[in-house]
């Protein structure tokens, strides 16, 4: 079953702007990473139709059917509720003043218009929220809230799943269970997903493919193992550098020489480089996490913080 997503256009904001042009194969889930303020969340919002000022193109092919969700000069053609995207927000966004059960029912009632909703009980058990059902949403902890939000979104029978840091507030044990359940669910329902996380470790466990965003642009795209990024991106960004994903060509552990290929052609900083220049880089743990600062490195200490 083929699924594609094309996003092409610009969203100007005061102080920053998002400028993307991607054509994604959604047969497998896709991850989006990048530093804070890179535009990851905004990209998801543009796809969902939550950015009314976005004047670019969004085109999807789901279940073999092509739909144009938005188009330049014609704006948003398909309203949010008709796109049938499931959006797990970073801040959960449960309805306050209602119980967990009522929050789930909200999704279930609307999903019934599309088709029967199944596996409600097994999902509630798997996401460990069965003991919370009668509690008011505002009394839940951050992790509990995220699990309820995930359940609510999955129960809404989405045709495309957009998840924005859905597990950030959960501890490792819950996260493992969540990832396992989500992977099974995606496998079973064959629903395409775009998954935003700043953690490559998390992304690699869920998605085979990744985009890396920085400053409102997609700066790298490829397999999760090849596209890597430093973990203290902001510090290096603040130093005036710019992140680029790179592919390791060879690693000579004896001589201590690493040969990498920076995969972007159009970057200005590359043009300013000459043989013999020192550049800063960091190899993450495991070694496939990699980022390069394509400018003389200002401070060695920066690399220590993690």
């Amino acid at each position: 079953m083929s699924a594609r997503l094309l996003v092409d256009g610009r969203l100007a904001r005061s102080g920053s702007s998002i400028d993307v042009s991607v054509d994604l194969d959604l047969s497998n889930p896709i991850g989006v990473s990048g530093p804070t303020g890179a535009g990851k969340t905004t990209l998801l919002r543009m796809i969902a139709g939550l950015e009314p000022d976005f004047g670019g193109r969004v085109e999807v092919t789901l279940d073999g059917q092509q739909e144009i969700w938005s188009e330049p000069s014609r704006g948003n053609l398909v309203p949010v509720h008709r796109r049938h995207v499931g959006f797990v927000f970073q801040d959960s966004r449960l309805f306050p003043g209602r119980t967990v059960q009522a929050n789930l029912d909200y999704a279930i009632q609307r999903a019934r218009a599309v088709g029967p909703v199944q596996d409600v009980d097994s999902m509630i058990r798997a996401l460990k929220i069965e003991s919370l059902l009668n509690q008011p949403a505002e009394l839940l902890s951050g992790g509990e809230r995220q699990r309820v939000a995930i359940a609510r979104t999955l129960l809404s029978k989405p045709k495309l799943l957009l998840m924005d840091e859905p597990m950030a507030a959960n501890d490792n044990a819950h996260r493992d269970a969540l990832i396992a359940y989500l992977s099974d669910w995606l496998e079973k329902h064959k629903i395409p997903m775009i998954y935003v996380s700043h953690s490559f470790a998390e992304l690699r466990r869920i998605v085979p493919q990744c985009l890396v965003m920085a400053r409102g642009r997609v700066v790298a795209q490829g397999g999760a193992a090849e596209v890597s990024i430093l973990s203290n991106e902001t510090a290096v960004e603040d130093a005036g550098g710019f992140f680029h994903a790179a592919t390791v060509l060879s690693a000579d552990t004896v001589k201590g020489v690493l040969t990498v290929q920076v995969s972007l052609e159009e970057t200005d900083s590359l043009k300013r480089m000459a043989a013999g220049d020192r550049v800063g880089f960091r190899v993450g743990e495991p070694a496939s996490d990699f980022g390069a600062l394509l400018q003389p490195e200002p401070n060695e200490n920066e690399r220590e913080s993690d």
Partner: protein
């Protein structure tokens, strides 16, 4: 208190009740539109809705008299379908009160709607809720206090209506002789005792209504803090 005074009190309650009950469904979409619309017509509509706050009621009453009297097109049309005049009738007073009390319903509703977080609406829309569904399933339940405040204010304001009734309702017992008009008539005919009794009742009622509104609004602040 005479039977005609009791009749005036009942009529006032009926007028205020009818106005409030009719204003809820009329003001809800209007307030929602005012909160959501980006149209350039919005400030115009907003100003028009707020007009009764600053306009002397006699001005509103005068124009209603001009528009609704049986020789004017609108008034004549009403007479042709109901056989009764809109001026100097209960139906006319209901219409006038709806216009006169419109801001007292619309503004608390708009405030309540505005305080519903955009985040909740976005969440609802991604769960498949149409804008209409959002209004019914998210906004209205969250705006309960706005409805209560708007209803109390509308009711109380309609009870206190005088200038408009004087202009286009007159003083017909059981039809348009509301409390304020009855008080005015008692003063005019030197029945100070009856005037006192009714005026004091109205004073106490208005105070209790406003007190209730302030209790409601201060409770809302606590909810937000919590």
């Amino acid at each position: 208190m005479t039977t005609s005074d009791l009749q005036a009190i009942w009529l006032t309650a009926l007028l205020a009740g009818t106005t409030t009950v009719l204003l809820v469904p009329l003001a809800t979409p209007l307030a929602w539109w005012l909160v959501r619309s980006t149209s350039s017509a919005r400030p115009v509509v907003e100003a028009a809705v707020a007009l009764p706050l600053v306009l002397p009621p006699t001005v509103l009453g005068f124009y209603l008299l001009v528009i609704l009297n049986p020789t004017a097109p609108v008034g004549a049309f009403w007479v042709s379908i109901t056989g009764q005049s809109l001026t100097f009738s209960f139906s006319g007073l209901v219409l006038a009160s709806i216009l006169y009390s419109l801001p007292f319903m619309v503004q608390p509703l708009a405030t309540a709607f505005r305080s519903v977080p955009q985040e909740m609406l976005e969440a609802a829309s991604t769960l498949g809720a149409s804008p209409r569904d959002e209004l019914i399933s998210v906004v209205l339940p969250a705006a309960r206090r706005g409805f209560l405040t708007g209803s109390v204010l509308t009711f109380a304001h309609t009870v206190g209506e005088f200038g408009v009734v004087l202009m286009m309702g007159g003083n017909i017992p059981g039809e348009t002789r509301v409390l304020s008009i009855a008080i005015y008539e008692h003063v005019e005919t030197l029945n100070y005792e009856s005037a006192h009794a009714m005026a004091l009742g109205l004073l106490v009622f208005s105070f209790v209504s406003l007190w209730a509104v302030y209790c409601l609004t201060s409770q809302r602040v606590e909810v937000v803090r919590g």
